[in-house]
Symmetry: C2
Subunit: 350 residues, 2 copies
């Protein structure tokens, strides 16, 4: 290749997967475990969620090398009831713990109609939509959540005591596009506040507080403070419930018991996740579900847009279009991510 | 009593329940079914959610009298898999369908660890927190949702195509207060916009759009338009997912297939609900769960408040305090609701 290292390169899905697997094997993971991790991270990149895709090899790799994540984790899946498993991630790589939990919960739901996996001893598991997508492809609706490093203040409080925990949902459509929703509870990501600061613009006072917990329009003060949740007490409540289900009930850490990813890279974070899977094949035929899903999407798409240039979308539509486009034209990967993958991949032969 | 009919009266829980049951029996419900309905509505009033409590006898009663709700519904619960039931509400009173679904899902979760009930053929089922509270008292965590009459526009759209569907969660605390979250997806209720109009105040542009779907600060235009969801596309996505789970997957109506409560009181609405119950007793001892829940609440309560007069709260705290206070001092009921309950109650002897 003659491409300069600063220009993103486009790789095929197979190329990126193969390179990713070699990198994670280089970082010490067994081949099969590296495959599971890369299945999630490559889907994240395909969906255009590059901040949660293969670029994570940087932070995952750093922790794998210092032992903050265990490369050869012995994940244990304990079936405590016909439709419930507890998963001990043994401080393994997050998407590996996530994939094992997803598979266990799908197996339960196949048999029982619904299944739940509660995972502890885990790490950052990537975005949620890849899991919901894999579930939807096999006919399962899903509700999935994870807790996260502590970054936000309780509603009305003034210090970081909970994470911006993501929550996701999926509903399959056997004859078309599934619905996929993957969201954190903050109004915006910190990156958006950083952009405003760079452009010397003020921000809406609904985005963040200063470090005393007071709403601010100054991006600099906001970056010293805390992100605000969507709908105020509503988003705060949702973030707590995600932490209760994924952290407290699973036996993982929760709230500020979650160790900092940045300050203590060598210490296990003990994150938790929950996976609730619902077998839609027990509810009606594929044709029945396809017809209803097509009708549901059509009703929304047919609402006259408030801005004629911006048609109404449904959740997951942007990500699935991006996947189709990148499957055709290749997945754009940052030069720095690519270099790091190649560097870790060469460890394999050592 | 010498109280004027305009002044709210305080009734004991037993008095309100007994009067409510007589009213719903007067409206044609079997005694046992009236009890189930009143269990939910009285809890709503105890929690201070009076707009979703016994005051609903007005709209429920109107529809029961014209046959828009069936007084003697034959609710069918079909177990389609070990941990899944489909419930056909037979157009019965909403909280009755809700209670039967809740009980079925708890029975499944007791046996299987998790259980799901998907209900169709239902009506407005009251607020969600009473269901989550009853579940929590028996050791179940819950995720519960319902769809609703179409009142809001898709994100970026300009006509009413989806309901302000409520979503609720609960987590038990065997030795203390459970966490209860019960929320609709709009930033505010329409009542808050009506108050702003009355006070001739403008509203934040995040609350609602005009009838063309454009954000507005004018409460009059907002009342002609649509409520905005929390977090824009995030709240829109959540509202859709609640409708997909409660309406589309259950076999009920969804989006604008839901018949208007006001325009067609004699037509079945065919609302749907979902109840996911999780048996926390399989996850650890009561002591284990109590200790974690107490610690979780304490971490949040100890965040120094941004406004010294407003300590940090946890979801459900306001409702549970209100319940304790009203159990001691009586439940305040509007004179008009009381008169209507007494009027329907006298039908019993006809």
């Amino acid at each position: 290749m003659t491409t300069s290292p600063q220009v993103p390169r486009a790789l095929s899905e197979a190329e990126l997967t193969e390179l990713g697997i070699r990198a994670f094997v280089g970082l010490g993971l067994p081949q099969e475990d590296a495959q599971a991790v890369c299945q999630i991270l490559v889907l994240a990149d395909l969906f255009g969620l590059s901040t949660h895709g293969m670029s994570r090899v940087e932070s995952y790799g750093e922790r794998l090398l210092v032992g903050g994540i265990k490369a050869r984790a012995q994940i244990r899946v304990e079936r405590v009831a016909p439709a419930m498993v507890k998963v001990d991630g043994d401080n393994g790589t997050g998407p590996l713990v996530g994939m094992r939990s997803l598979q266990a919960a799908m197996a339960l739901a196949r048999e029982c109609g619904v299944g739940i996996a509660l995972a502890r001893g885990s790490n950052h598991f990537g975005p949620i939509s890849p899991y919901s997508y894999l579930a939807a492809k096999e006919g399962f609706a899903s509700i999935i959540g994870s807790n996260a490093t502590t970054t936000i203040a309780p509603w009305g409080g003034s210090d970081a005591r909970l994470g911006n925990s993501p929550l996701g949902f999926g509903v399959p459509n056997p004859g078309g596009q599934p619905f996929l929703l993957d969201m954190a509870m903050s109004v915006v990501a910190r990156a958006k506040i950083r952009s405003a600061l760079k452009r010397r613009e003020s921000i809406p006072e609904t985005w963040a507080t200063d470090k005393q917990g007071r709403p601010t329009t100054d991006p600099a003060q906001a970056l010293d403070g805390f992100l605000l949740p969507i709908g105020g007490h509503k988003g705060y409540g949702l973030a707590l419930l995600v932490d209760l289900f994924s952290g407290l009930l699973s036996g993982a850490a929760y709230l500020n018991h979650v160790k900092s990813w940045v300050d203590a890279p060598e210490e296990p974070q003990n994150l938790g996740h929950f996976f609730i899977l619902i077998n839609t094949q027990l509810l009606g035929s594929s044709q029945w579900l396809t017809e209803r899903m097509m009708d549901f999407a059509a009703i929304l798409h047919e609402s006259p847009p408030a801005d004629p240039g911006k048609p109404v979308l449904v959740p997951g539509e942007i990500e699935l279009a991006k996947m189709a486009q990148q499957r055709q034209h290749g997945i754009k990967i940052d030069a720095s991510t690519l270099a790091l993958l190649q560097q870790h991949a060469t460890r394999t032969s050592n």
